[in-house]
Amino acid sequence: MSLLSVQKLSMGIHDHPVLHDVTFEVAKGEIVAITGESGSGKSMTAFSVMGLAPGGSHATGRIMLKDTDLLTQTEAQMCALRGNAIGMVFQEPMTALNPVKTIGDQVAETILIHGAGTRAEAMRIAADTLTRVGLPQDRFPLGRFPHELSGGQRQRVVIAMAIALRPALLIADEPTTALDVTTQAQILQLLAKLAREDDMGLLMITHDLAVVSEMADRIVVMQHGRIVEQGDTAHLLHNMQHPYTKLLFAASTHQVDLPPLTSDAPLLRVDGVSRDYRTPRKSVFGAPGTFRAVNNVSFDIKKGERLGLVGESGCGKSTLTRAILGLEDVQAGSITLNGAPVFSAGRANLAVRRNMQVVFQDPYGSFNPRHRVSRLITEPFFLLDDPPKGQDRTDLIAETLEAVGLSAADADKYPHQFSGGQRQRIAIARALIIRPELIVFDEAVSALDVSVRAQILDLLADLCRQYDLTYLFISHDLSVVRTVTDRVLVMQSGQIVEHGPTEQVFSDPQHPYTQTLLAAAPTLPDLTDKASPHAQPPLV
């Protein structure tokens, strides 16, 4: 008998249908992954099982946990099940913990709330569980507060809270999406290990097909609130039936076709750059300390070149980006564009700034919601001495919007009228409109669904052909960097540890850190070898 059996689950929020006839099962000790893009209903399915769907929702069908139909349980009965029979791990470890309580108290609370022991027993179980998830007591005592831990460590605490009472079912909603790739690998390994050891059913919600393929025993693919396909991982990946599954898979491994390099002339030159931050004073009257975020970094970008910059959070990528854009001064070295410094006399050099633009990660946060698209994308005109006016301006707006795959009529709309992918096109239009010599893409496709991401990457390749773009592409996503760059820099602790032609670095990494990064990154199995469907058994 299966542990969790979801039968014909349909759900609506107010009058808006969210799930249709969702049916799947999770057995004891089995890892089932629900995958799909945003709006597919995968998270809503998870929250329905937890009985934590948002207010105003109503569900039909059955959610059987062993012999209990969760949909018929009262709120009090669900409270007794949550944390006890079903545990849940969330996406954002940085905010999933209460900042004012110690990690010991928070893990012990799971035990105390279900009356599973006295306070002393609860603290002992909490200590054992934290040790079990990789936070041994000698280094991570119970009295630590969440802000004293890294993202990966916090996620381990969240996992400890979820498994403290050894639930039969663990639900993990995008558990590693916010984490670095090496941390992600560790957390995934931990989850798989716990599921095997406790014979616990693990329901993983993730958008990342590579994670799914390495981890899950079975895959459930969802689109628009329906399950379009499900089956054993290896079998499903080798015998994809539904066009959406095929599309998802193709988009995840999407390769773009970059035009060849045209020039050898250097455009941006970064020479021996170091950037220090002040750290808090050690004593009230002591001198402040410094932290070197970028340490003696040198590289250049040639005209028409596509350069990648990869590294994990805290490696100095963002600091370097701000220095290149002339937003902050550097403590040593120089950054020049066409020989002119990007930062001079205490501020960004305007003549240079107008030749650089940037596209940021968040397509929702990077626009003023009260401005129309025409105003948003013409913001860089402030950098020009003689910006286009009247008909010239209108024509340029139309031309740029069309270049990024939107229409001239979109100029009069507001940002909220567009999807995430379209907004990122607007952001690219804003960068493109003054024809800069260099565009910096700072995690520009990281927040997008894979199918949308594939389209944006194609757009970049198109623009390269059309406008001879030079760009610096900063990302933590190695597979994306691999396809859209000619050359790549690998950054660790403020230093460039490896650089070279992209394909060479990826296929034959020299530095141990690059090797670790590439090994940790989840990869999709190579499906060309269709003769042996079990050539790529799931990890663990």
């Binding site: 944390g83 545990g87 004012v100 809270m161």
Partner: protein
């Protein structure tokens, strides 16, 4: 934690020093010579000069400043120009009315605001929430002197539970003293409670939307348990800020209510002293209020650190 306290203390001392300078010189450059004012406009120049010498007004300003600050530090606030009594004594008499009144009012407003704010937040969008929010809207809108007069009309004149004004003094016993401050405290507390209740509600609602509240629910806590165990303490930072501001306001800003209830408080003392150009009293009372405000802020800063461990380790 110790370093956090030391840093706060240092900034407290600097703020006090700057405040004393500003208060002294701003009040000194305001027009109106106390001696001329006391003797009237028809007085003789030599009489004025004699009085100025007697009041210590004939020495240079910087020296008067040093004398004043030196006096403050040793508890000697100088002598009132008008009443010829020690300022320290005048202030302490008034403080024994104003300070208990402020604490009384603040306690009342907190006791009203916390339950109503928590109740409204936990029933967001429902009838209970709407009712509480409507009531607080009214509480903010009603002028407190009008409300005070209504209280007097009902409880003092019609029901005769309280006297309509005046303060019996603490020598009649704690109960009698508090009793005579009750109507003023209620009139002061109500608008403050309305504001605090709204702050409490919105701070709690912000916290209720946080990810860790969802985590708490996933552990098996009921909505109510999650709110009490994880919501409340995280919502305290904005609430503490407002409580600190309200205490400072209640101490000095009660002048209208003091007038309505004929209470000998600090607000009235300042008002009378300004009218009489009794600069030394004004300076000392204002300095005392600044001192209180800064001390309250210091206490609020310490309370922040107690509530939020991140502030303890931050330097």
């Amino acid at each position: 934690m110790l370093r956090y306290i030391l840093k706060r203390l240092l900034s407290l001392v600097i703020s006090l020093a700057v405040a004393s300078l500003v208060i002294f010189f701003v009040i000194e450059i305001a027009p109106g010579d106390p001696a001329t004012f006391m003797l009237g406009i028809n007085s003789q120049p030599d009489t004025i000069a004699a009085l100025r010498a007697e009041l210590g007004l004939d020495v240079p300003q910087w020296q008067r400043y040093l004398n004043w600050v030196g006096g403050l530090l040793t508890g000697d606030f100088g002598t009132s120009y008008t009443y010829r009594t020690p300022v320290a004594q005048m202030i302490s008499e008034r403080l024994w009315v104003s300070l208990p009144l402020a604490i009384y009012a603040l306690t009342l407003s907190t006791l009203i605001a916390f339950p109503t704010g928590i109740y409204a937040a936990s029933r967001r969008g429902k009838a209970g929430d709407t009712a509480v929010m409507g009531a607080t809207q009214l509480g903010v809108a009603i002028p407190n002197f009008w409300f005070a007069m209504m209280l007097v009309l009902l409880f003092a004149i019609n029901l005769r539970w309280f006297s309509a004004g005046g303060f019996v003094g603490w020598d009649k016993g704690l109960g009698a003293g508090l009793w005579s401050l009750t109507l003023p405290a209620i009139s002061l507390a109500l608008p403050q409670a309305a504001i605090l209740s709204r702050v409490m509600r919105s701070a709690l609602l912000d916290v209720l939307g946080e990810d860790f509240m969802r985590t708490a629910r996933a552990k098996g806590l009921t909505r109510k348990q999650a709110l009490w165990r994880h919501g409340l303490r995280n919502a305290m930072i904005p609430v503490l800020t407002i409580i600190g501001l309200q205490f400072s306001f209640l101490l000095a800003g009660a002048i209208i209510i003091e007038q309505v209830f004929y209470l000998p408080g600090l607000g009235r003392l300042v008002f009378q002293s300004i009218n009489a150009r009794d600069l030394i009293v004004v300076e000392s009372v204002v300095m005392l209020l600044v001192f209180t405000v800064i001390m309250v802020n210091f206490a609020v800063d310490l309370a922040y650190a107690l509530v939020d461990p991140r502030l303890r380790s931050r330097t």
